[in-house]
Structures are given as C-alpha cells and as structure tokens.
C-alpha cells in the first residue's frame, strides 16, 4: 500500500486515540464505562499494528516516532498499576511489613549481632574503665552528658524541665521556652536525625553491604561507650529510665534497617541463579519495604523519646511502661499478620518459578 494513502486512512484513528490520551487521567480511567474501555483498547491494538507495519516498511522516522510515542502512552495507561490508597498503607503496616521482616529474619539477627555486640562490649569496657571514653566521645559531649544526667539534670523528677542530648541542640533549647513546646522541637530533631541515619544505613547497603556494616558497628560502639560512660558517672538510674521506653522502638528499628541494608549487600554478593542486577532488583524491592517499616518505627520512637521519656513520672512507671513497649515491639514484629504467612510472598514465588526455569522440571511446575 502507498504511504500517503495509509496515512490518510489511519490518521483519524490516531487522532482519536491521541485525543483520548490527552483527555484521560489515571483516576478517571478506572471509572470509564466498559464499552469505552474496550473501544480504546481496540484502538491501542490497532495503533500498535500500524506501528509495526510502518516500521517494517521503513516509512520514515517521523511517522515511526509519532506512533511509537502514541503507543507508549497508551501502554503506560493500560498497563499501569492501580493508584495507591489508604487501606494499602494500613495493610502494609499490619501485615506486609512484619511479614517481610519475618521472611528475612536472618538478616535482622545478623544486624543485631553487628549492632548490639559492639554496643555491649564497649559499654562493658567503658563502664569499667571510664578513662577510655575520651577516645570515642568528644570532650564537650561528655560534659554535656554529665549535665544532662547529673544531679542537676532536668530528668530529675522534681524538676519540670526537659532535656537535650547533644551540644548542638543546647544553643536553641537553653532559651526560655515553655515545657511542651520544647518537646515538639525535640520530636522534630529526633525524626530528622534518627530516621535519616537509619535510612542512610539501609541505602549504603548497596555498596556490597559495607556501608551498612560500618554504620551499625560505629553506632553500636558509640552508643555503648556513651551508655557505659554515663552509668560509670553514677547517673545510670536517670539514664536507663529515660532510655528504656523509646529504646524498644529505636534500637530495634536500627537493627531492622541495618538488616534491610544487608539484604541489598547479600543480593549483590550471592545473586543465585540471577544476574547480580536482577537479584538486586528483586531483593531490593523487598528490602525497601522493610526499611520503610523501620522508618515508621523510628518516627514512633522519636515521639516517645520527645514526649514521654523525659516526662517527670516516677521511674517505676517508666520501667513498667518501657518493658511493656519492648514486649509490644516483639509481638508486633513476631506475630502481626501471621495468618498471612501461609500465602507465598510475591518475591519468593518469582524466585521459585525462576529456579524451576533453570532446572529440569520446567514442564511440571508451570
């Protein structure tokens, strides 16, 4: 057929499809009546056919790229994912995240080892030998800790004042400000600072896991040294009652994020039957959903740390509530969405079908 006639004849259809693409949005697309949808999906196939025809006959670059873009937009629209909604968020927090966490618990345990073991060791060493603390903690920070948890500490139950933990916060918090107001600023600080560290800890896992391991070890040693130092100065009671409540969410979430980072590293080092990049993609999508959960946990921890931990309630209550929160975290990660565990995870399923493709039993499993 002649090129001109082909264009003349098909152009109205292209125009029609183009107008449809311009007028439609993804939200309104799902509400289109059935006849309309089948009409336009028919048009998409026709335009696809035209594209193939024109390409095989070599009828010019302009025409090909026009039809290519037309089909590409239609493809995007027809094969796009459904829009996210609020119930999806709830399902993720109630089922998706804890489930994925349990499916990859080995990485979490490794991260725990990398985080809590150095924490414990440095705590033990520094507590018995406080002079070593100077090698890890900067001087002015140590002075600051003395101030925070010492006799004059705002954490003393008699005083109705909140606290800060590092020197940089000191500057703006020492000003006269009201009680709850100051805590809100601390909440902002904890969210910005702690969640940022956890997300970075996860992301650096892409460097073969080295970044994650470094972050975990560094933070473990540093926190251990700080704890050991504060306890050795005789401020253990005030410190522990402050830390116990939010520690449940905070420390666990750091290990969760670290575990997610280790998944990325492991996907690169042990790709299995896939290429390294394929393996990174498949496992990465799982890992980021775990890291997202860790971020949510850290936001919760930040709110507890800012509004509950420094409050002037007796230490006994804090210990009881703090222990309760540890149990809560354990139950959440260990049991939430358990009934869904029997349904295979999408990633796992893909993994199995992939390996069956490579193996000999190809016919049986499909």
């Amino acid at each position: 057929m002649d090129k001109h006639k082909f264009i003349q004849q098909r152009q109205p259809h292209w125009k029609q499809f183009e107008e449809f693409l311009m007028s439609i949005r993804r939200e309104s697309f799902t509400k289109l009546p059935a006849e309309e949808i089948s009409k336009y999906s028919q048009l998409l196939r026709e335009v696809s056919n035209d594209l193939a025809t024109i390409r095989s006959r070599g009828w010019g670059h302009d025409l090909t790229s026009y039809l290519n873009d037309l089909v590409a937009r239609g493809h995007n629209l027809f094969y796009g994912a459904p829009p996210a909604n609020l119930s999806g968020v709830f399902h993720y927090l109630a089922v998706g995240f804890p489930r994925l966490f349990r499916a990859n618990i080995g990485y979490f345990l490794t991260a725990c080892l990398l985080f809590f073991l150095p924490l414990g060791i440095s705590w033990y060493v520094v507590q018995n030998n406080p002079s070593l603390a100077t090698r890890i903690i900067p001087e002015e920070m140590m002075a600051n800790f003395d101030l925070m948890y010492g006799e004059e500490s705002p954490l003393n139950n008699e005083e109705e004042k909140t606290t800060d933990r590092t020197d940089e916060k000191d500057s703006f918090l020492s000003e006269e400000s009201t009680f709850g107001d100051q805590r809100a600023s601390m909440a902002g600080f904890y969210i910005n600072h702690n969640v940022g560290i956890a997300l970075q800890c996860f992301a650096l896992g892409i460097l073969l896991g080295v970044g994650t391991i470094y972050t975990l070890l560094f933070n473990g040693i540093f926190l251990g040294a700080v704890s050991g130092y504060i306890v050795s100065q005789g401020n253990g009671e005030r410190f522990l009652s402050f830390v116990i409540s939010h520690g449940s969410f905070e420390l666990t979430a750091i290990a969760v994020a670290g575990g997610a980072g280790l998944i990325l590293g492991d996907a690169l080092i042990h790709p299995g039957q896939r290429t390294r990049f394929q393996s990174l993609q498949v496992r990465g999508l799982e890992a980021v959903q775990i890291a997202g959960g860790a971020a949510v946990m850290l936001v919760v921890a930040a709110l507890i740390e800012a509004f509950w931990s420094p409050s002037g309630i007796s230490n006994l209550v804090k210990y009881v509530v703090g222990s309760g929160l540890w149990i809560l975290v354990f139950i959440y990660l260990g049991f939430a969405g358990r009934q869904a565990d029997t349904i295979p995870l999408p990633v796992k399923k893909r993994e199995r079908s992939k390996s069956s493709e490579v193996g000999f039993n190809r016919g049986q499993q499909s």
Partner: protein, 296 residues
C-alpha cells in the same frame, strides 16, 4: 533487522556490507531503550543522559532550597508564639525535604519531579510501566549512596551501564527517559512543480520505501539547512541514485540541482505506482476498518 534482510534481496550490491555494519553499530551506540509490549510491538524510549539529568537535579535543588527558605519564613512567624514547636516543625519539613521530595513527587506524580517535568524527563520502570511508590522510595533512598563524592558513584554507574542507570535505578529497576511531545507527522511533501522523471531515462531499478521516506523527510526539513549545505547533502544520495537508476537524462540536473533530482525521483516512484489498482482496495479496506471501529 528485517529491513536489512529485505534490502539484501532487493539490492544485491557491494553496498550491503557497510550497511550491515551500520545497523550493528547503531545498536551499541543507541540512546534508545527497546521493550516489547503485550501487543508484540517493540516500543522505543529515548534515554536521558547524565547532562540532562544534572540540569533537572540543579532545578530540583533550587526548588528544595526555596521550599526550605519559604518554610523558614512561615516558621519564624509561628516561632514568635511557640518557638520550640516552630523548630520542631521546621526540622520535620527539613527531613521530608531531604528524604521525601523525590519519593513523593516521583511516586505520586507519574515519575516526574518538578525539575524533571521542566526538563521533559520521566522515571519509568524498565518494563515501560509507570513507577509506583516503593520503587520510587528505593531509588531515592539509594540516592545517598549515589551522592558519595558529589554524585561520583552515581555518575560512574551511569557511564558504565547501557541505560544510564545510577545505583538507585539499578536497584529499583527504573530508567529515566526523555519525554517527547506527540507530534503529528507532517503531511507528505508533494512538490507540485516537480515533474516525474521520464520513464525512458531510467532503468528497471525501483528504490526501496525507506529511501523514498528519507527523501520525503529530507524535503520536509530542507529549510533547516542553507541552500549550499542542502545541495551538498542531497548530492551524495542523488549521484548514487542516478547511478543505480542508470539515469540517462540531463546529467546537469543531478550535479547542479540534486535536490530537485531527488524530488523528481520521489515523485516518480511514490505516486505513479499502480495508482489505479490501489484506489479500489484502499477505499474498500477503509470502509471495513471504519465499520469495525464504529462497532467496537
């Protein structure tokens, strides 16, 4: 690939060898990504290179700083009443600005941050699908690994991968493409004044459709070039075509006005081809097609 094979059948000359070489080279150097749709059609997307993405990044950076600056102004006002809360809100905004700006914009606005929108770039999954929240989060969390040494790792990764993917793209399975605006193909150029070649002057050789399309597009764009340059370019094709056609007419025409010669070749082969026979089948087919559409 298919077109190369047909050309082998039609034009068995020595010119085939370099031509095949060209196609192979085009594959390697191509800035296009090919995917196959469920309709069994190959779609191509134009990949965005590091330079374009850098410009988009700079625009986004400026916007992010502007957001922070604007937030600071508002926060200062709140800060008069509640200084602590104001600082807290500001820190949360700073957090969202650092970690959420790209994720939110790319995850919920079809893969475009504001800078990408301005530059006409878009993030898509490497299957050609729109990006969703989790891949958007993943590729932008990994940004902090890419950003090491002023994006040194990201740029290195982009240069080493065929689709210009930084680490975040690799892990999330995404690519950044250049959006093209839909352009209706121009009306084929029909030059009224140009006469077709005399049948007696040419041999039995019939140029391929591709060559005719090339002439068509060249004619359409001839105003882009200066007169001399246009003729210099046209001369290459004109001489080789004249040789193939065994053109025995006025040689002056080929050398002096190669553009006019090309146009008349186009005129000869694109329109006079079995015009009467086609008329019937085309109108018949179009009637059938029209009926199909109205039914569907």
């Amino acid at each position: 690939m298919i077109s190369t094979i047909t050309s082998d059948e039609m034009v068995p000359t020595s010119a085939n060898f370099p031509q095949q070489n060209f196609t192979a080279q085009r594959e390697v150097l191509s800035l296009e990504m090919k995917i196959e749709t469920p309709e069994n059609v190959v779609l191509t997307y134009q990949l965005a290179g590091p330079a374009q993405r850098y410009i988009a990044y700079i625009i986004d950076l400026a916007i992010r700083l502007a957001i922070l600056f604007g937030a600071m102004m508002v926060i200062n006002m709140i800060g008069i009443v509640l200084p602590g809360t104001a600082i807290g809100i500001f820190l949360v905004i700073m957090f969202l600005n650092t970690w959420g700006y790209y994720t939110i914009s790319e995850g919920f606005f079809k893969g475009q941050s504001i800078g990408k929108h301005i530059c006409g770039l878009r993030v898509i999954r490497d299957g050609g699908y729109p990006i969703t929240f989790w891949p958007a989060l993943l590729r932008n969390l990994a940004r902090s690994a890419d950003a090491i040494i002023f994006y040194g790792i990201g740029i290195t990764s982009m240069l080493l991968t065929r689709r210009f993917q930084r680490l975040g793209d690799l892990v999330a399975g995404t690519v950044v493409i250049q959006e093209r605006s839909l352009k209706l193909p121009r009306k084929p150029v029909i030059l009224k004044k140009i006469q077709p070649l005399n049948k007696n002057d040419i041999g039995s050789f019939v140029p391929r459709d591709e060559v005719l399309s090339l002439i068509d597009e060249f004619m359409g764009r001839r105003h882009v070039l200066t007169y001399e340059r246009g003729h210099a370019l046209a001369g290459i094709l004109a001489t080789s075509l004249a040789e193939r056609l065994k053109y025995s007419g006025d040689p002056q025409k080929v050398e002096q006005y190669p553009m006019a010669f090309l146009a008349s070749v186009y005129q000869t082969f694109s329109l006079s081809n079995h015009q009467e026979e086609d008329e019937f089948t085309v109108s018949n087919q179009s009637r059938i097609r029209n009926r199909e559409v109205s039914l569907g």
